[in-house]
Symmetry: C4
Subunit: 233 residues, 4 copies
């Protein structure tokens, strides 16, 4: 029995949610789950079809991206996950997908405008889109630099990763995170739904205004504020 | 055995139709079913996943929004349901979803134009879109005021809630109602289908005219008029 | 045992294909199957959910629209079917749906342009769209007149119902037919697929030209011509 | 037992993936699998529904398009497959579909622009679109000439079929290939996903720039280059 059975199980279950939620084709996505006490995370092995996954196939990696346990090669995006875990010390799960609408916004190099309460139930700003990386970062330690591209864009916008748990990487695709792998997967599905509705909104009304501040605040606070009353206690 | 077993069962079954009809992601929707003789309605508990619902988890609430029976917190939209039941005395079910196309029209702040007979089979006017509420209403008793925003918009347009059983709340999403919870769910699915077809119609022909009066009258009357001949007697 | 068991079974099976192929929501569609030797057709009862259908519930109607056998009320579109059977003596099945993309083109009052070989595999011209009926026809014997609107539009375009087995009725939705009910259902699914691809084609390239004559002829003839070589002999 | 049991089984399984991946309606597609040592390929019989397929129904054809074994007529597109196998000596599978988005781009007569890393993970250039054939080719040996149209377009663009395993045939639909039938089917699904995301990208941002060279190279090389690190070894 592995010392990391818990996070292997969590990562396995969270990965299996991706095809079920329609967020991946073939192996175009990956989820990891961290164990902060041990300084490691469990992540999907690279290129292995979802139908062949088992908890035991998850690879254990430390926050510098070194494999700690497992015979399979970890996801090619492992270093991006590692960077985010290392620098954002309160996240427990990271997800990367090429979901259809989220990826289309990333390819369009556009942040997803906040048009409605579905969006504001989860975050109070446009879903940010980091610009494509510069050539030196791409030709260098690409996946490692992707993590920094994400963090740098958050810093440049003054955003907190605790409040905004999702981003598009320009020309690439969405990344999401959360307290747990399960929450990070939830965020990926929310991003995809919001991305589709935002495109449809602009098609119906190219002059659609963004949501006004009072509605943003109301919806975000009823789910996340001190006096939140959404869900069970 | 609860005194409200009937409406708990009705509300449970109607709620379970939402994911089956593709109208909700996660917990982004809720259905209630009223018992007029007892002055209460059964409603989905807040934030509980559909796969975990049972009839016994439905919460019983009176028409002022007070919980009468149940240990779980009712849907965060409960007060909107309560207001509609209190003021529209002949409705027996209310539904709220964030269905994709309906929500996109709400975010676009546009009524859904009546373009065809699918629409006219159910109502004779554009599906109305109430404007976003003013800031005082939002910062105040928000969900309670949402009910009034709906009723006020119907009044301003001279619409009857008996003939038009659906609305978009601007920047938010659809609400529907009906004699029963089952009928209200049916109306939510109709709204979503009509919303999608209306967008596609405008994409094919930006100058598409609305349905003419004679066709509106014919289709509505054959389903709802004195001489209706659609369905079984 | 009914004298009409064969067509009841055919109509039942063909009706059940509509939800399976994603062509109907609730009861928004109907299929009939004719027995030419007996001068009747079997058609879906009006407003009965597909999951409650059985072969025995099909209603037997003659080509003037009179019910010959069955306790349920036939589809509200029955007279349209009757007119087509009466005047087009070689068809054995008729289908009406409100399928999403086909209905959007009908609402847009536009024929579906022939853009590719998928279209030309089935017909050599745009899928015609009959204009909305005039008010006298609508206020009169509406469903009966719908049949004549379809036939008149074919005549005005010089089309043969043997070669073009589908039409859009403006502001309403598609009708299709064929030698059998099964073939008519097949045509409904083809119309919907072609309708979706035509809209996408125009979105990608608003100046997309129609398919040229040589390709139209080649694809149609390889499936339908004297030297057809598609399918088994 | 047939001498060709292996490729019949491969072709059968690959064909059955098409409906499972949502790439075909009815019989609008076909897959073949080659045995280079015997100079033949197994291909779907023409017009036979997927649910009726068995490995034994696959037809064995040589690289000149002559049937070698099998009682059913092979796919009407057989000669296109034969030409590609004959001239591209390292491919082991060919797929033709009328998948929705891929076909829409073909009907629009537009190559699919390379907008993101999902695309660059598989090829480094726009997905090419061969122009519609000239009338002499169409009226002559049409399916045979389709193979040459594909090869000629690759030659005119200076593309290698080993690096670019997919094409659109203008006004018609996609063709893909690969080392195996399974890989060719994979490529068909990738083409469809990329085609959908490219259209959405242009809808979000009509000025969306193509992916820059450094990102194209990085993503292609990490999957296909000498130092590839995607997947298992």
């Amino acid at each position: 029995m592995s010392n990391y059975q818990d996070i292997k199980q969590q990562a396995y279950e969270a990965n299996m949610q991706l095809p079920k939620l329609g967020l991946v084709l073939f192996t175009f996505g990956n989820v990891s789950a961290a164990d902060r006490s041990k300084g490691v995370f469990a992540i999907k092995p690279s290129g292995v079809p979802y139908e062949d996954l088992t908890p035991d196939k998850m690879v254990i990696v430390d926050f510098d991206g070194n494999t700690v346990e497992g015979t399979l090669r970890p996801s090619s995006d492992t270093k991006t996950h590692a960077v985010l875990y290392k620098h954002w010390e309160d996240i427990g799960g990271v997800v990367h997908t090429h979901s259809t609408y989220g990826t289309a916004w990333a390819q369009a190099q556009k942040a997803i405008p906040i048009f409605g309460t579905t969006h504001a139930d989860h975050l109070t700003v446009d879903i940010p889109c980091a610009p494509p990386m510069d050539d030196a970062m791409i030709k260098g330690n690409y996946e490692y630099e992707t993590g920094f591209q994400i963090m740098n864009h958050f810093e440049s916008l003054g955003l907190s990763h605790k409040e905004v748990e999702m981003i598009l990487v320009g020309n690439h695709a969405p990344f999401t995170w959360g307290k747990t792998a399960e929450k990070a997967v939830y965020n990926s599905a929310v991003l995809e739904a919001v991305a589709q509705m935002a495109l449809l909104t602009q098609q119906i009304n190219p002059q659609a205004p963004k949501l006004k501040d009072s509605l943003i605040e109301k919806h975000y606070e009823r789910k996340h504020g001190a006096g939140a009353y959404y869900g069970q206690q």
